[in-house]
């Protein structure tokens, strides 16, 4: 029978000075999930392997771990698909990233809970319950805006692979910001301002680097990244002057006035005169290397047909309040490219199927 290697991160702080990896050889069985493989290794070869699990059906969110370097639910991916996807005979299992391992694949959850507490992840009603005794009601479109965000099972796969969290553990993280959006955007919730203040403290919401790991990892298609952006849009609508908001204004002005961004004058407009002075040595370095378009200091060149853009801009700005943009349905979707030549290593045909 065909075999594969399950290489598992092992660590028991009461015994081991450092984590190590132990490899278990197992038969390749059709339909076997990573979680099932872990059970098999534990039952037949090593009863000391420790991991969290519960529902085995991608509902509870307990078994998130890093599989070949990327976080997902162990009960949701199959061994045969992974072997095919990575063209390998070895699958490496580690605890999720950005957390403190407690034992083997089990990690410290307190850190996540503490972060969640800061955004009060519960419903705070705006009004008293309806007098007819029925539940709080909501317009279907308003519900649609929080529908996907409500599906989060707090598995922390997104927190694991978040680049901003990797750089700074003070970042609240996609799971927490996404949860904040779920309540702040709920038309029945009364604590919108309080929630926005919490995520905007030290501009935390804008530490997100838009790396798209969270949305790519999420096993429930919660769209954490998109929720972060929706939360930023809410902050802009509420009139918060964040660095991101100033940045967006500069982009809008440049699109209207010239079409392309004026990168030379950006630092000054972003941070004011002091900022420009602070950035001067960098600017000089760029100039000496010929990376500066001098015309930009005097406004720079304009794109062709700019009047078209200005017309569109003005009409779009007037119209935007009345357009109800639906959230993208991304469940199982992989971009279909009509110009596919058949030669490309196409993800839609080879990978990603779980």
């Amino acid at each position: 029978m065909e075999k594969f290697k399950l290489r598992v991160f092992r660590y028991d702080p009461t015994k081991d000075s450092e984590p190590y990896y132990k490899t278990y050889e197992l038969p390749v069985e059709k339909g076997m999930t990573v979680l099932a493989a872990l059970f098999k290794a534990k039952e037949e070869q090593d009863p000391t392997i420790s991991f969290r699990y519960n529902c085995r059906a991608a509902i509870c969110g307990s078994c998130a771990m890093r599989i070949n370097g990327h976080a997902t639910l162990a009960c949701k991916v199959q061994i045969t698909h992974l072997l095919d996807r990575y063209q390998t005979d070895t699958i490496t299992i580690e605890p999720i990233g950005n957390v403190k391992p407690l034992k083997d694949l089990i990690y410290d959850m307190d850190w996540l809970i503490d972060k969640l507490k800061r955004i009060k992840p519960w419903f705070i009603p705006k009004e008293k319950p309806p007098v007819d005794g029925k539940e709080y009601r909501q317009d279907p479109y308003d519900h649609h805006r929080i529908d996907f965000a409500s599906d989060c099972i707090l598995c922390a796969s997104c927190m694991s692979d978040c680049n901003a969290l990797k750089a700074n553990k003070e970042f609240l993280g996609p799971m927490v910001h996404s949860k904040a959006y779920r309540f702040a955007a709920d038309t029945r919730d009364g604590a919108k301002k309080e929630r926005l203040e919490a995520v905007l403290e030290d501009f935390n919401l804008e530490w997100c680097v838009r790396c798209m790991e969270c949305t790519t990892r999420c096993p429930k298609e919660v769209q954490p990244y998109e929720n972060i952006i929706r939360l930023r849009i809410m902050a802009a609508e509420e009139g918060y002057k964040t660095p991101g908001e100033i940045h967006a204004e500069i982009f809008e002005q440049d699109i209207y006035n010239r079409g392309l961004l004026n990168e030379m004058l950006l630092p000054m407009r972003q941070e004011g005169l002091l900022g420009a002075i602070k950035r001067a040595p960098f600017g000089i370095k760029m100039m000496l290397k010929g990376k500066v378009n001098y015309a930009d200091f005097f406004g720079g060149h304009k794109i062709k047909r700019l009047e078209e853009v200005q017309k569109i801009y003005e009409v779009a700005k007037k119209k935007e309040k009345e357009v109800k943009i639906k959230l993208p349905q991304i469940m199982g979707v992989i971009y279909e490219d009509k110009r596919k030549t058949g030669k490309r290593a196409n993800y839609a045909e080879t990978g990603g199927k779980e």
């Binding site: 990797k166 940045h247 440049d254 699109i255 801009y313 109800k324």
Partner: protein, 294 residues
């Protein structure tokens, strides 16, 4: 063979801080037999900034950008990861929501334009692999980069999220390695291969996040003894090359890792000179590379 003709969307960076990308793309494309018709009326894609303030405005300007390619009856080719993602995101939303498409077209009509959805959005990287083809690229190599260890740096927006990109497996992409091998170089695996350069939080979290990521990325390539990194994205390039010294300073490390744009690397292998490819326009010195290829 299919005609390799594209509506060329330059983006802001190639027209601003990365002129070497614009120039090397044009030179390399010509040598590889790709015809680029520059969209001189295209605007900025919004870069995610406009998208997080006015979603409808961002969609509308990108619908116009796409309509410009449709006017020419060509697919739109970008040389920036973020442009790729923003344009594909707009296209995805417009193609999957008829009411939204109508609303956007009502605005475009004011300027005599219409978004139909007939042009695809593609990136230079993908067109080298699929349009030109690796066999043809191999045939054109006159100076194989055999003594170079090259660290690919994909950049987020050319692999994630798959519902908008979907060109290759976001967890196990191979396109840049395939190109490196085709031009005779040695691709090196490193921990930051699929990581983020930090660019998009620069103005909000320069010290807290951005420069830390930049340092980690360059360090990761150095640990694997790469001679240089290569990226298909000018924003990653600005971050990793132009901001690398700032990152070194803040983090207190010495890295000195040169970073090449994808077309620059290909150009060296197909006989273009370092000077015409703009290798002298980098902040981190490319002197060692220039000496080796001479």
């Amino acid at each position: 063979m299919a005609e390799l003709k594209y509506a060329f969307y330059t983006g802001c960076s190639a027209k601003g801080v990365a002129p070497e990308l614009y120039n090397s793309t044009k030179l390399v494309a010509e040598k590889l037999g790709m015809e680029l018709i520059e969209l001189e009326a295209a605007t900025c894609c919004g870069a995610g900034a406009v998208q997080e303030k006015d979603e409808f405005l961002a969609l509308t300007i990108n619908a116009r950008n796409l309509a410009l390619a449709e006017e020419l009856g060509l697919d739109l080719l970008t040389i920036c990861n973020t442009c790729t993602l923003m344009l594909r995101e707009a296209k995805f939303k417009l193609d999957n929501d008829p009411e939204l498409k109508n609303a956007v077209n009502e605005v475009l009509k004011e300027a005599g334009l219409e978004y139909k959805g007939t042009s695809e959005v593609t990136h230079f990287l993908w067109e080298v692999v699929d349009g030109v083809g690796l066999d043809r690229l191999k045939e054109m190599v006159v100076r194989p980069l055999k003594e170079f260890n090259i660290a690919p740096f994909y950049g987020c927006h050319i692999i994630r999220p798959p519902y908008l990109i979907g060109y290759e497996d976001p967890d196990n992409p191979k396109s840049i390695e395939m190109i490196i091998e085709a031009i005779g170089g040695n691709p090196v695996d490193h921990t930051a291969r699929l990581a983020c350069c930090g660019f998009h939080s620069f103005w909000s979290a320069e010290d807290k996040v951005t420069l830390k990521l930049t340092a980690m990325d360059a360090q990761s390539a150095k640990e694997e003894k790469a001679d240089f990194m290569v990226t298909p994205c000018p924003l990653c390039h600005t971050q990793l090359d132009a901001m690398q010294e700032e990152a070194e300073e803040r983090i207190g490390v010495n890295i000195g890792m040169p970073v090449l744009h994808l077309p620059q690397m290909i150009g060296l292998a197909i006989g273009l000179k370092p000077k015409e490819l703009g290798l002298d326009k980098h902040i981190i010195s490319t002197k060692d590379i220039i000496q080796k290829v001479a």
